[in-house]
């Protein structure tokens, strides 16, 4: 059995995925992106292969910010292509993704797919971290909670606050002033999700809303954010399986095509 690996060197975390020749996900892992990207990638792959009891990877594909410097990889591919491939594996059964909304650490992207999962078009946020995971992290810190609690807490809100600033830094001051005015942090968080969703939905072309909308990236783990997207789009939005690993899985899938 041949094993293929995908590495996704993101801005915040380094993700890795192993798949077999049928596209089945065997193992995934994540570590913080440190200074030594390459060393971290090697160690992570070693750990993942040991856990599934194999010693040879047939082909490794890298994606993400640090894709060009990951020497352990045989080749690299852009995040856009990797994510488009990833959903072939990670889309929940029975769903047909037409749009991928990827909320990463420092960028968010919208990818449009055709009927064959090929990229038709894409848009990305530029020069701005609003609507990304970083934004969520900053606000979570101010509100003395953790990133995994942000979603559940916000779902308890009944009257979300208005957060109008589109810039992370300005939004941060806005949140601080909301805290000072003693607003419930659950309402602040719900407001933050609405503000992020508005930001990203602006990038989505309404004319292209064919097929299901699938969320990927670490941001997809946030149920509150997903609901904010649904409210903003007035549509169902689904979360991919292994959302955080979608890029890595996509890269591994391309590796399996290459290394065959």
């Amino acid at each position: 059995m041949s094993i293929y690996a995908g590495l996704d060197g993101g801005s915040t975390y380094l993700k890795a995925a192993l798949i077999d020749h049928t596209g089945k996900v065997l193992n995934t892992g994540v570590v913080s992106t440190g200074i030594d990207n390459n060393g971290a990638a090697e160690a992570l792959l070693k750990k993942l292969t040991r856990e599934v009891g194999i010693d040879r990877i047939a082909y490794t594909m890298a994606t993400g910010y640090s894709r060009k410097i990951l020497e352990t990889a045989d080749d690299d591919v852009s995040e856009i292509t990797a994510h488009a491939y990833g959903v072939r594996v990670t889309a929940p059964k029975g769903y047909r993704p037409g749009i991928i909304v990827d909320i990463g650490g420092q960028d968010s992207k919208v990818i449009y797919l055709d009927g064959n999962y090929h990229v038709k078009n894409f848009t990305m946020n530029d020069k701005c971290a609003a609507g990304t995971g970083k934004f969520m992290e900053v606000i979570a810190q101010i509100l003395e909670t953790t990133i995994d609690q942000v979603g559940p807490l916000s779902l308890e809100s009944h009257a979300p606050c208005d957060i109008n600033s589109t810039c992370v830094v300005f939004a941060q001051s806005e949140v601080i002033s909301l805290v000072a005015r003693k607003f419930d942090r659950r309402d602040i968080l719900a407001g933050m999700h609405a503000s992020m969703a508005r930001r990203v939905v602006k990038m989505i072309r309404k004319s292209e809303l064919g097929g299901d909308i699938l969320m990927t990236g670490g941001g997809a783990l946030n149920t509150g954010l997903r609901q904010a997207f649904e409210d903003e789009l007035m549509r169902d939005v689904y979360t991919a399986n292994y959302p955080q690993f979608n890029g890595a899985i996509g890269a591994a899938l391309i590796a399996s095509e290459r290394g065959r």
Binding site: V77, S78, T81, H118, V119, N121, F122, M124, D126
Partner: protein
């Protein structure tokens, strides 16, 4: 103080230009005959010397392909296309121009302000066609500082009245030229100038034919460097340089030595002007594994593609021919109706077997941005992927652009587009 400011300007400006030239030279399959073009760019932007031209011939700064070079040569001067692509000059102009003004205009204002580029400073006259609001305000600003001729560009070009008006503009410009050169316009000197430019055009037509060959003989980044160099070269010299490049390319075609492997995605670059040293997009396209097969931009072949059609050989007939050539076939989005730009791009997609279109929008360049929607709809109809990239005159956005360009190239590569 002023001297130190200029020193700093020189250092930064030189560094950007040199880096860009280095990246151009680092691309594979650089024809030997490209050297004189790169030397010209290096002379003007790195060594900061004046353009090479015969002694005693004044230079005239022009800001658009709508200023006919024939007229300037006829009256004993040399045109220098001064539309700015300098990040450093942009940074200077940024202090004066409003934030949302386009970087091209900011760069020109920077050059004017810093007084450090001989090719710019030595111009005896500036000719600014009013092709957008920014250019209009630029013209007014320049007029306060040095002799400037402002050409009113009609909003339409299909009615006779519009042509009459632009012909009158050219006559007025000709009067300004006579003031600085002392040479009045005659049918003899205009006719001579037509011949001089016709020779350049003959070589350009040869060049275009060679560029259309498949697989490709020359990278788009090289072709754009050669076309950019035209702005700063005495026309007969540029004609000779291009003839040598054409000879070399013909040799390569006979030997079957092509510039690139056959399977690289073939892209067309269109949109706002791409002016040296702002070669971000052409370089990124070629460095990320695409092939810039053609460009539909005003620093490219737009200004010289169509010959002036003379039906009446009198002086007035020739002037009308110039006015016609400058506006009617022009694909500049300054015109209200610009269907012809869509036709032109469609034609180029056929001619160059284009697989994807990169649409360049300089920040604040509204007219080009406006036309994106129509272009996108047309490409959708043709099944050609298109990407809009907005840039400014600095290097801050290079990484964001890189991922976009790379993903766009992959979209074509992996997309099962079998064109």
């Amino acid at each position: 103080m002023e001297a130190r400011r200029r020193d700093r300007f020189d250092r930064r400006q030189t560094a950007t230009a040199e880096k860009t030239l280095r990246r151009v030279r680092a691309l594979t399959h650089c024809p030997q005959a490209l050297t004189p073009f790169l030397d010209t760019l290096s002379r003007v932007f790195v060594d900061r010397q004046d353009v090479v031209h015969p002694k005693g011939v004044p230079t005239v700064g022009t800001y658009c392909v709508m200023v006919p070079p024939e007229l300037i040569y006829a009256q004993g001067a040399m045109p220098v296309k001064l539309c700015g692509g300098s990040y450093t000059a942009f940074a200077v102009g940024d202090d004066t121009a409003p934030r949302d003004a386009c970087p091209l205009v900011k760069a020109v204002m920077g050059f004017e302000d810093i007084d450090a580029m001989p090719a710019y400073q030595n111009c005896a006259l500036m000719a600014v066609p009013v092709t957008c609001d920014c250019k209009k305000k630029l013209a007014g600003w320049l007029q306060e500082r040095r002799p400037t001729s402002i050409l009113h560009v009609p909003a339409n070009r299909d009615r006779d009245a519009d042509m009459e008006r632009f012909t009158r503009e050219l006559y007025a410009f000709s009067d300004s030229l006579a003031e600085i050169t002392g040479v009045p316009l005659t049918s003899e000197n205009l006719s001579m100038a037509f011949h001089r430019l016709a020779e350049a055009q003959t070589q350009l037509s040869r060049f275009i034919d060679l560029r259309r060959k498949h697989p490709t003989l020359i990278r788009g980044a090289f072709a754009m460097a050669a076309m950019n160099a035209m702005s700063y070269t005495w026309a007969p010299s540029w004609t000779k340089q291009l003839a040598r490049l054409n000879d070399e390319l013909e040799g390569l075609a006979r030997a079957g030595t092509m510039a690139v492997k056959g399977n690289q995605p073939r892209l067309l670059l269109t949109g706002s002007p791409v002016i040296f040293p702002n070669f971000k997009l052409p370089l990124l396209i070629e460095e990320m594994g695409g092939l810039l097969a053609a460009d539909e931009t005003c620093m490219g072949e737009r200004g010289l593609y169509d010959p002036p059609a003379i039906v009446d050989p009198s002086l007035n007939g020739m002037m009308r021919a110039l006015a016609n050539r400058a506006t009617r076939p022009c694909t500049c989005p300054t015109f209200a109706d610009n269907r012809r730009r869509l036709y032109r791009v469609r034609q180029m997609i056929e001619d160059y077997r284009i697989q994807g279109v990169v649409y360049h929008v300089l920040r604040g360049c509204l007219v080009y941005d406006y036309e994106y929607a129509a272009m996108e709809a047309e490409m959708e109809r043709l099944g050609i992927p298109i990407i809009r990239v907005e840039t400014d005159y600095n290097e801050e956005d290079v990484e964001q652009l890189r991922i976009r360009i790379e993903a766009f190239i992959e979209l074509i590569k992996y997309g099962g587009n079998d064109r």
